[in-house]
């Protein structure tokens, strides 16, 4: 084989005084970084193979390991950074499309960090959520313009709604892209915290039907695992049009990840590629989208809300308006930092727009058109903490989806190698040896803890603003101020500058 010009990304440092040659690192690393040198009775490593997932660092019983950025420096060049040089070496060696996992990691502005929240001082009292009632209950679905009450009851039945105890859901991650234990963790956490997980396009594994009341089933272009039982199993249905990490392109689960369980769940032959076409070929227009929305409503007897997930792209406001008019009960918008099990690197890093702008534009457009009540807005693709959730709701979201944050709760260290199937944390893999590293009971507890912690923090932030129900924050942009933003950015976000 010709010489590879690639240099290591990471350097594994071992404190020889602490190392006891127990070989845990060797057993834990599926990439084969660590090995035991019998002659010298010491552990050695191949830095080149390290992906920086920290599994060995965390599991080393004596704390002997450190993983650092490889100290090799190219001659300083602001234009040709390491990443770009590396990708050319890789493509020159292979001729392939660069494939990666997780979300856009480029240094684009993070607008959440340019918005600050308000608090009550003197003129209105703040509320202490530990001792006073505080409501986070959220209903996703179409709301009528007005309700009529007859004899103390609603005269007309409300359209179907998803009832959330917290305005946070686990976003679509298929069984295939992540392990069954990872999906089980999220499903159980969703049930414990009164929210929803989303099947993604991978079908619903038979062990997960019991979580139906906390499940959103997804229908994407490949229609994997979609049959009448599946549609009826969930509390709601989501049509996937696009994903923030890869707007405009389809999906592709490689055959090596299609083992017996994935094969049975997706209802495709063992080892067969699972290809999701870029568009749904029965949807080339808003009218066609309406056709699929109502096809799904007919198939489920109008008992379940049907939403549509799109990637945040330039014309997102007009598209969302079309989606509302097509009869969707909720629209899910995925920003350009949204994660993925696998996406072409150039698409992930260069296509789509920040969710903060997309959300502001969509909420504004729907309000202006007088149809904001007809559709709920769910946003995802960069929500990192409870403050991001609060800011998203103040900008106009009804609820948020978290994907990356949920996986971090399960142990992900963001090495961005989901596409390889070699996840040492047992999350983005189908290798049985790796999958069992993630105990779904522990995973569920960790994911549920995260939701509960964020719920407490959201209540604290709401209370500080003198608000006692998340409803009152929704679209309440007066609670936000911008810092370090230009006039145009402020106007798109629909917020004032700090000090105004």
């Amino acid at each position: 084989m010709a010489l590879s010009l690639l240099t290591p990304m990471f350097k594994v440092e071992r404190d020889e005084e602490l190392c006891i040659q127990c070989k845990v690192c060797m057993r834990q690393c599926v990439n084969g970084v660590h090995w035991y040198d019998e002659e010298e009775d010491r552990m050695r490593c191949d830095h080149k193979k390290c992906v920086g997932c920290h599994r060995c660092v965390v599991l080393c019983p004596t704390g002997a390991l450190t993983v650092k950025k490889y100290p090799l420096e190219f001659r300083e060049n602001a234009h040709w950074t390491l990443d770009y040089i590396r990708s050319i070496y890789l493509q020159a060696e292979t001729g392939g499309i660069l494939l990666t996992g997780m979300g856009n990691d480029r240094p684009y502005p993070v607008y959440w960090d340019h918005m600050v929240l308000n608090a009550s001082q003197v003129t209105n009292p703040s509320i202490d959520p530990l001792r006073e009632p505080m409501e986070l209950k959220t209903y996703l679905g179409r709301k009528p313009k007005a309700v009529e009450i007859k004899n103390g009851k609603l005269a007309e039945k409300l359209p179907p709604q998803l009832e959330l105890d917290v305005p946070i859901m686990f976003s679509a991650m298929s069984f295939g892209s992540i392990s069954l234990n990872a999906v089980k963790s999220l499903a159980q956490a969703a049930r414990e915290t009164g929210t929803f997980f989303n099947t993604g396009e991978g079908g619903l594994h038979r062990d997960l039907y019991e979580y139906g009341a906390n499940t959103i089933v997804q229908v994407a272009s490949g229609r994997f695992g979609v049959d009448p039982d599946y549609l009826k199993a969930g509390a709601g249905i989501e049509i996937k049009i696009g994903q923030g990490a890869k707007p405009g392109i389809g999906g592709h689960l490689p055959g090596e990840k299609v083992g017996p369980e994935v094969s049975a769940t997706r209802m495709i032959p063992l080892g067969s590629d699972a290809i999701s076409p870029a568009p749904h070929h029965d949807i080339y227009s808003i009218e066609d989208l309406r056709q699929l929305i109502f096809s799904l409503k007919e198939a489920t007897n109008y008992e379940k809300p049907v939403g549509v997930k799109i990637a945040a792209v330039h014309n997102v406001a007009a598209i969302a308006s079309g989606i509302a008019r097509a009869g969707a009960d909720f629209v899910a918008i995925d920003g350009f930092r949204g994660g993925t099990g696998a996406a072409p690197l150039r698409t992930r890093d260069n296509v789509g727009i920040p969710i903060e702008f997309a959300l502001a534009a969509v909420d504004e457009r729907l309000r202006r058109e007088g149809i904001r009540n007809e559709v709920s807005i769910v946003v995802g693709g960069s929500i990192r903490n409870s403050a991001d959730v609060v800011k998203a709701i103040a900008l106009g979201a009804d609820a948020v989806y978290i994907g990356t944050a949920a996986l971090i709760a399960l142990g992900c260290h963001l090495c961005q190698k989901c596409n390889t199937g070699k996840c040492n944390w047992g999350i983005a893999t189908q290798d049985p040896y790796l999958v069992k590293r993630l105990n779904p009971e522990i995973g569920a507890r960790r994911a549920a803890n995260l939701i509960r912690a964020w719920a407490h923090e959201i209540k604290e932030l709401l209370g500080g603003m003198g608000i006692n129900a998340i409803e009152s924050l929704r679209g309440n942009r007066l609670m936000l101020r911008g810092i370090g933003l230009n006039e145009k950015e402020l106007s798109i976000l629909g917020i004032k500058a700090a000090g105004e």
Binding site: L231, P254, M267, H281, D282, F294, N301
Partner: protein
């Protein structure tokens, strides 16, 4: 028990409510008269009853359907058998675009022509092997991304100058089989498929389905099987296996 529903002037939602109600109250056969573009007939319905439609049903006929038999005495529109799970649809006229999209089981018999992207992303799993039989011609992208199942294209009574199938036939195909009665020029095929001769097992499969096709529509079986078939299969089930480089 047979029930007749007059669809004239009925919105699809009302019509489908009536159909569901009739099936729930024990109808074994429903005759729908004067269908005029009502969508979603048979959509998402499970059972083994039979629906006969006079007139033209609308799009997504038998979408997600699970087990029924539907016979359309005239033409059907787009998306017949969309993501269908089991059952049978028999169309005496033509059917539109994306007929059999993502179909995972059951059978479609279309006497006339079909539109674009028919049988796109059909897939098979274990005992579920969807089959589409097309009596006339098919538009472009027949069997695109096909992952399983069988498409039988007969090209009966082609008018002079009209071709049996459009361009990009079987493009992206990574499973399943397409049988075409007669020849297909290589330039019309997607680069993922190759043409082979049917085996004797294939001949038997074709004969069985053509016999049923002939009986549904009153055609002459011997006339149809007199002309030889070509078999289209994908080169492999991993067409894009070498396209990517992990970054």
């Amino acid at each position: 028990m047979m029930i007749t529903i007059d669809a004239s002037g009925l919105h699809y939602r009302k019509l489908n409510e009536q159909i569901r109600k009739a099936l729930a109250t024990g109808a074994t056969e429903i005759l729908i008269k004067n269908a005029n573009g009502q969508r979603y007939i048979g959509t998402g319905i499970s059972g083994n009853q039979r629906i006969v439609i006079e007139g033209t049903p609308g799009s997504d006929l038998a979408a997600f359907m699970d087990g029924l038999e539907i016979e359309v005495m005239g033409n059907a529109q787009d998306g017949v058998g969309n993501t269908m799970n089991a059952g049978r649809v028999i169309v005496h006229g033509n059917a539109g675009d994306v007929t059999g999209y993502g179909m995972r089981g059951g059978e479609l018999f279309i006497r006339g022509d079909v539109g674009y992207r028919v049988g796109i992303h059909m897939k098979a799993y274990k005992e579920k092997q969807p089959v589409i039989v097309i009596g006339g011609r098919a538009g472009a992208f027949l069997g695109e991304y096909m992952a399983g199942g069988v498409i039988l294209l007969l090209g009966l009574d082609l008018e002079p100058g009209r071709e049996i199938v459009g361009n990009f036939c079987g493009t992206g195909m990574h499973g399943g089989t397409i049988f075409i009665r007669g020849e297909v020029e290589p330039y019309k095929l997607g680069k993922e498929v190759r043409v082979v001769e049917p085996t004797s097992e294939d001949e038997q499969f074709i004969a069985d389905y053509v016999a049923r096709f002939a009986s549904y529509f009153g055609d002459d079986l011997s006339r149809i099987v007199a002309k030889p078939f070509k078999k289209l299969i994908p080169f492999n089930k991993r067409p894009y296996g070498n396209l990517y480089t992990p970054y």
